[in-house]
Amino acid sequence: MSLLKGAPFRLPRLKPYVPDPGDPPIFWFNGEREDVIRDVTRRAVEKHGIDRAHFEYVLNELAYNEVRRLETQRGDEAREQLPFWRGLVRRIARMSDEEKRATLRTLAERMARDVAGNFDPRVYRIAIRMVPRVLSGVMSPRSLPMQAIAPNVGKLDELVRCEGTTEKLRKLAKIGTLVFVPTHVSNLDSVVLGYVLEREGLPPVVYGAGKNLFSNPVMSFFMHNLGAYRVDRRIKATLYKDVLKSYAGVMVERGYHSLFFPGGTRSRSGLIERHLKLGLAGSAVEAFARNQVRGQKRPILFVPTTINYALVLEAETLVEDWLKEAGKARYIIEDDESTRYERWLDFLRRISGMEGACTIRFGEPLDPFGNEVDDDGRSLTPHGKPIDPATYVSRGGKPIVDTARDVAYTTALGEKLPERYLRETVLMSTQLVAHVLFRKLVRATPSIDLFGRIRHRGDVAMLREDLVRSVGEARDRLLALESDGVLRVSRILRAEPPDRIVERALDVWNGYHAKTAAKESALEITIEEPELLLYYQNRLVPFATRIASEADASAAREIARIGGS
């Protein structure tokens, strides 16, 4: 019986790979793999202590959850595995304490094996040569043949911009363990981020990827062999979550640079994430405490990162999902735009026309307690004095592991990161144009709610010159906020004249989304699909009141309330 079907393919290896001392930590992973699995298993089981009744509960809960999942899921996996779980349900009551513990251990180990990634330096080297060429080739298909021959990746460099603390991170990657915690809007996020890390001389990261992404054999081969671990969101059992958390934690403890999307899933609304549960990223806080107890002083540094797109691949499905308030229930959208190949192509073709279609911005790295650090990775107080981070996990002068405490630190970090996101968000031209149009809609439809407004298709228009002027004014206010350090503005938004900004935005939307966001005529721009505009403008919600003129103030206040306070 195997818990996992279709283990990803790995290249055979005749002799063990010996990493160079200068290689990033992930190059050492395969040598440690068995060790990691052992650690993870032990920790996941230990978490449940020695209480007999509790052991039985964990087993029952697991078996019950799996039976229920497989019964509703059906298919090959169900046929193969259901008898095992049903049998387990019957056997649990008759098992001795020893048997229960042994069963729990076996199941935890099987899960850990299913989760564990692989890292093949050969695949990594192929990927770093191939990905830019394929990506940039796909982004501008006409140049594909030439791109394939000439390793000229200049085009992609232009498309995906990277800014922020890159230089500092390069240095810190050698001293400490980096934990990237980006905002999440698109399935493209991990690919683009992975590409940028490599291009900027930053180390590769390990991260948990939804098991659905492993269903495509080619994707699966690359993801698996590049150190991604598998997260099966369908499995709800406590033990599985413990295995995942332990895995994430053990990897950080061992110094593997990691990536977590602390928002959990893609932001359905397009709003900048405000409430983070952190989930797996929380295990990095505990990892710090565990390392301190062992005398391992290597800093663990969270890097708040924003991934900003002028055009979002899955915008239509995401916003629809948000409006249906189904975002919480539907963790896996089975059929959104990102699963259709031709949509990717179309998307990539579309953004190829735009300089800087995606901007990744790295914020100031923070220690697990929200303190900034200097270039040597030393934690700093709010007033810039060095401080020993070990004091945060110490009691009576000695570091200790305390789960309740680390949960609290995690909660506090979950409040800190959104503040950083706000500061590091790079606002794009499409978002501003959408905002100005949506603000007009709000003004034109007083005293009705959001759901009423999004039904106003095609009956609110804005004179082109008004739109251009409003965009210009709002842009100037954004620039003033940028110089105060409140937010960031994209290069195009900063440099282009307002009429060009408007033109670009309309062009890219109308060429890409199935629905027309706004229709142009010689004199005016008509709002055709308020939902789409809403999605794009939501990025600006936190700043709405500060970029509005007197006349727009009331509409801006209403917009500021979108998504609750």
């Binding site: 303190n371 070990a390 004091t391 945060y392 609290a408 506090a412 206040r557 306070s565």
Partner: protein, 312 residues
């Protein structure tokens, strides 16, 4: 020998707290800008913030308005191992930032909390039986407070709804002020009851908009705290309200009440915040207007009573 406990702030409340702490036999370091005489053999007074470092648990008992002068320099002497608990009834700035938030922003300390509930200086000093609540995310903070303070005379409860405790404590201060005022102008028990129940409901609405849980306001940090004020625990906010009702000018009334009262600066900010967030907050609004001298007490009551009655 357990580490000493520190109290930053030598005002009425700080000294009462120090006395209650000393009762358990622990050494207490009291920092005060102006050095005062010790109130107990276990209480050591100082005007040097560096001495606070020796404690693990540090109570911050200063008015929120003075926080910018005291908290940042205090932070320079502390590190991640200190547990910081404040007792203020204030909220900072126009966005009503809680003081634990301010402590986290301005000091290296992260293990912070707020002590609230029906606590008054005199009762603490005398050891009169009572209760309190600690709002903190960190179980070790509530444990430390319990260990330092709890005893036969004081039951210390805890919650992880930190914002609820802080907003509750601050806004109950505001309601107590209104209550004293209403008593002062001779309102009867039924009017007071309406004022208080509607007041708590309003406070809860404001609290929820700031991220608190409604339930917290039904506990010691809300209703419990207010009941003690009604029962006459001698709290300064009531005195102030009564003095205002007698027609005393605000600054003179504050002197009469004899303690720093956060409610005065808070009322206006809460009213503005509620209006901006479109939260129905007539009690806070009217209190702010009375304090500003914009409406007479009689008009205030008339306005409140003339509001349309809806379902509760």
């Amino acid at each position: 020998m357990p580490a000493p406990v520190a109290v930053v702030g030598g005002g009425t409340f700080g000294r009462g707290l120090a006395k209650a702490l000393a009762r358990t036999g622990r050494d207490v370091i009291v920092w005060s800008r102006t050095r005062r005489d010790s109130v107990d053999e276990h209480v050591h007074t100082t005007n040097d913030l560096a001495h606070v470092r020796d404690a693990t648990l540090v109570f911050v008992a200063i008015p929120s308005a003075r926080a910018p002068d005291v908290v940042p320099p205090l932070g320079d002497h502390l590190d991640g191992s200190h547990l910081l608990v404040h007792v203020s009834r204030g909220l900072v700035g126009d966005d009503l930032r809680t003081l634990t938030r301010y402590l986290r922003d301005e000091t290296p300390c992260r293990r912070v909390g707020a002590l609230a509930g029906p606590l008054v200086a005199q009762a603490l000093a005398d050891g009169t039986p009572g209760g309190a609540i600690v709002g903190t995310l960190f179980p070790e903070v509530s444990e430390a407070v319990r260990e330092a303070l709890a005893g036969p005379a004081l039951r210390v409860y805890s919650t992880d709804d930190v914002i609820g405790v802080e907003v509750g404590s601050a806004l109950v201060g505001l309601l107590a002020l209104g209550l004293g005022f209403a008593q002062g102008i001779g309102m009867g028990p039924s009017t007071l009851a309406v004022f208080l129940t509607r007041g708590v409901a309003e406070v809860a609405r404001i609290g929820v908009s700031l991220g608190a849980r409604e339930k917290t306001f039904m506990g010691l940090a809300g209703t419990g705290d207010l009941l003690a004020a009604v029962a006459g625990d001698g709290r300064p906010e009531i005195e102030l309200g009564r003095a205002l009702a007698r027609g005393m000018p605000v600054d003179e009334a504050v002197r009469t009440a004899g303690a720093n009262i956060e409610g005065i600066s808070l009322a206006r900010r809460v009213a503005v915040y509620a209006a901006r967030q479109k939260i129905d907050a007539p009690v806070c609004q009217i209190t702010a207007e009375v304090l500003d001298g914009k409406v007479t007490p009689a008009d205030a009551i008339a306005t409140l009573m003339a509001r349309r009655v809806t379902s509760e």
